[in-house]
């Protein structure tokens, strides 16, 4: 399954080394600034390795601030000067940060950085087989990034409620003049590579054990399908927000209110549901301190959770889906390890279980008819956090060789079971599609209205669904061509008079027919030549023009 991973990674690295280097420079700069701030605030309270691991979760904070600043400056300064200002700001702030920590730094800081770079290399194989970022979410993110770069309709494009990720990518793309799709793909993988690192901080803080901390990192990186599978959903803002949520939780240890507030605000700006996660972790922390007999409560909660889940999995398909990426063997191992060290960390165990339970509960708390406090995908993505933490704590008592063997087993298991390449589930765009979309952009009139294939997708535990979601590359029409789209069920019968009448009434001028199972059936154009005419054809994508409308 992953035989070509290293070759793919090397290939992507060679093909995109300038862009990867630029992204890593941005990440290194953010990490350096965060590390320097943490070091100044905490002094010798934490080890450099702990701070470096935490700082690898905090780099989006300075990145967001400078990105917002650069985009804001575009209102007053020509674009050509923005890059110069960006480089100057980066260089000056980095120099200050280096000056501040130069004499205080120890070689320990390199350990998390080396691990991070190794993870980057592993994750870089993913874009080798991707034409554009996956799934329909990516098309929306692409469009928002483009609108931020154009600055023409920053405040009126899609009523989207969190834009932190888009601000960072838009500013980066502006400064580097890179291709936005490629930036999204590579940036996403680098976010993914950073996510496991802050776990080191939490486990190391709790256990004072390096091997337990690295075991936690191994679990977060390779233990389960998540969070890596989330890039297949184009959930880039949620992933970036998860990284900053980790940092915010770590910042709480520093007891610096400004850092905590700033980090929390940034994570919420990147993904508004971060506020729910932060509230859940806060509530779990407070609640875990209350009961005196934590052991009984822990086992009662664990029992209740398992029992409840077994019941719910049968009754509610959403809950079952959440646990699909969490394979039984690794999760069972984590459970056993955690139970074995309960006496040493009763509050932390309780905290983790409570946090997991509250996350799951969030799916069932409605905010409106269509939305609940948390949705299934985001809980699915975030559940690895308490699990990896529990696993890390559980490794404390194990002998060194056992930790090494278990970590190796987890990595081998990941290699054998998890796909490091794009999943077939979510690839909507083929090379025929990108050519067809490019042709549309260049040849169709600006006021063309394109019918695209769509479906309703269930999301919430209540059964509410997302309506009119693009099911093939048609979902990229607006993002890449700027033409208006009209979403229709992919099973629509275009041979019916009523369908043709409806399309005419809706002033649809063209129909995008992709090559996926959930694309429109392409045969209609040949069957009704009086109504439809194929004007562009490739085997996996075609454009059909509407005719016969009065």
């Amino acid at each position: 399954m992953n035989n070509d991973l290293f070759i793919n990674s090397a290939h992507v690295l060679v093909q995109n080394w300038e862009l990867i280097l630029a992204i890593l420079t941005c990440v290194s700069w953010g990490t350096l600034l965060t590390f320097a701030a943490l070091k100044k605030i905490t002094g010798t309270q934490f080890t450099d390795a702990e701070l470096a691991a935490l700082a690898l979760g905090g780099w989006p904070l300075p990145a967001l601030i400078i990105s917002a600043l650069l985009l804001g400056l575009r209102f007053f300064i020509p674009d050509n000067f923005i890059s110069i200002i960006a480089f100057a700001l980066l260089a000056i702030s980095a120099a200050f940060a280096v000056h501040a920590v130069w004499k205080l730094i120890s070689p320990g800081v390199a350990i998390p950085v080396i691990v991070f770079l190794f993870f980057v290399f592993l994750r870089l194989g993913f874009p080798a087989n991707a034409v554009l970022p996956p799934y329909f979410d990516s098309a929306m993110h692409y469009e928002i990034i483009q609108s931020l770069m154009r600055m023409d309709d920053v405040f009126i494009t899609a009523p989207y409620y969190h834009r932190g990720y888009h601000i960072i990518v838009a500013a980066f793309t502006l400064v580097t003049h890179a291709n936005p799709g490629q930036v999204m793909l590579l940036f996403g993988q680098i976010i993914l590579a950073a996510i496991p690192l802050p776990i080191y901080f939490f486990v190391r803080r709790a256990t004072n054990s390096n091997r337990a901390a690295f075991f936690g990192v191994t679990l977060a990186a390779f233990g389960w399908f998540m969070p890596a599978h989330a890039v297949n959903w184009g959930k880039y803002p949620a992933l970036l927000s998860l990284l900053l949520i980790e940092f915010t939780l770590g910042a709480a240890f520093t007891k610096n209110r400004w850092l905590l507030a700033l980090s929390a605000a940034a994570s919420i700006l990147i993904h508004s549901r971060a506020i729910i996660f932060l509230a859940i972790f806060g509530a779990a922390w407070i609640l875990s301190a209350v009961p005196r007999n934590k052991r009984i409560l822990f086992f009662a909660l664990t029992g209740a959770m398992l029992g409840g889940l077994i019941l719910l999995i049968n009754q509610n398909q959403v809950i079952g889906l959440i646990f699909e990426p969490y394979g039984i063997w690794v999760t069972l191992l984590v459970g056993l390890l955690a139970a074995s060290v309960f006496r040493s960390f009763p509050r932390l165990m309780l905290f983790s279980i409570l946090a997991s339970l509250l996350m799951l509960a969030g799916i069932f708390i409605p905010v409106s008819f269509a939305f609940s406090l948390l949705d299934r995908p985001i809980v699915e993505m975030a559940l690895f956090l308490p699990l990896a933490f529990l696993g890390g704590l559980g490794a404390t008592r194990l002998p060194r060789f056992a930790v090494t063997v278990l970590a190796a087993a987890i990595i081998i298991h990941a290699w054998a079971a998890y796909n490091f390449s794009p999943s077939d589930c979510c690839r909507l765009v083929s090379r025929d599609d990108v050519v067809t979309l490019d042709w549309m952009d260049k040849h169709l009139p600006a006021n063309a209205r394109i019918a695209i294939a769509s479906t309703d997708l269930s999301l919430a535990a209540s059964g509410a669904s997302m309506e009119g979601i693009g099911t093939d590359a048609g979902t990229w029409v607006t993002s890449l061509t700027g033409r208006m789209v009209f979403a229709l069920p992919y099973s629509k019968d275009f041979n019916l008079q009523s369908t043709h009448d409806m399309l005419c009434q809706q002033q649809v001028t063209h129909i995008y027919v992709g090559g996926l199972p959930h694309s429109f059936n392409s045969s209609f154009a040949n069957l009704k030549p009086a109504w439809y005419q194929t004007i562009f054809f490739l085997p996996n994508a075609r454009i059909v023009q509407m005719t016969g409308c009065d």
Partner: protein, 206 residues
């Protein structure tokens, strides 16, 4: 003592890491050298149909546009690939195909030119626009570009299951002599109408 252990571990990880990167770089340089040597021996590359492991210039598919001109979909080895155009030879006539790179995906390009008769071989030569030098060539049998190929209606089975229909499309497989022969491809016929009763699940798991 503990610090010493950390340094030893750090050193070990560092060495492994450096060795790993060294191996990767060696592999990359070796490949680059290999390809350079290859290109020194035969400067004109062979254009073939793309497969999963395609790394050089290759053809993804053939198609057609509204002016009944042929569209050739190319996959490029990298985003910085030199601008090029194509000369196509068929029945002794040479036609020029102009090519453009896809803006959103710079490793994709398509060339447009005269549509050749189906079932005939077309000899393609790819020239760099800058310097007009031949960079690649290949022969292909264009068998089916289904811009207006009539196909039969998908029949709906009583159980409502999807029925695949055979639709001739411009896919191709390379033959031993370097030419490309057509392959009929199964395309799925979706069920006709009726709104979907149960929505599919958003964000599918692997």
């Amino acid at each position: 003592m503990k610090q010493k252990q950390i340094f030893i571990i750090l050193g070990a990880i560092g060495i492994i890491f450096v060795l790993f990167w060294f191996a990767v770089l060696t592999l990359v340089i070796k490949n680059l050298r290999g390809s350079n040597e290859k290109s020194a021996e035969s400067p004109v590359a062979n254009v073939v149909m793309c497969d999963e492991d395609a790394s050089g210039l290759c053809i993804v598919t053939f198609g057609a546009n509204n002016l009944n001109r042929m569209v050739i979909n190319f996959q490029l080895p990298n985003a910085d690939y030199a601008p090029f155009y194509v000369k196509a030879m068929n029945r002794g006539t040479v036609s020029i195909y102009t090519c453009e790179v896809v803006e959103s995906t710079p490793t994709s390009a398509y060339c447009t030119g005269v549509r050749t008769p189906l079932g005939e071989t077309i000899d393609l030569e790819v020239y760099a626009t800058d310097g007009d030098t031949l960079i690649a060539r290949g022969s292909f049998l264009i068998s089916a570009i289904a811009l207006s190929t009539p196909i039969s209606l998908p029949s709906e089975t009583p159980g409502g299951e999807e029925t695949p229909t055979v639709t001739p499309i411009a896919s191709a497989t390379p033959s031993p002599n370097g030419e490309v022969t057509p392959t009929p491809t199964l395309s799925k016929a979706t069920n006709t109408p009726g709104s979907t009763s149960t929505p599919n699940t958003a964000y599918p798991n692997p």
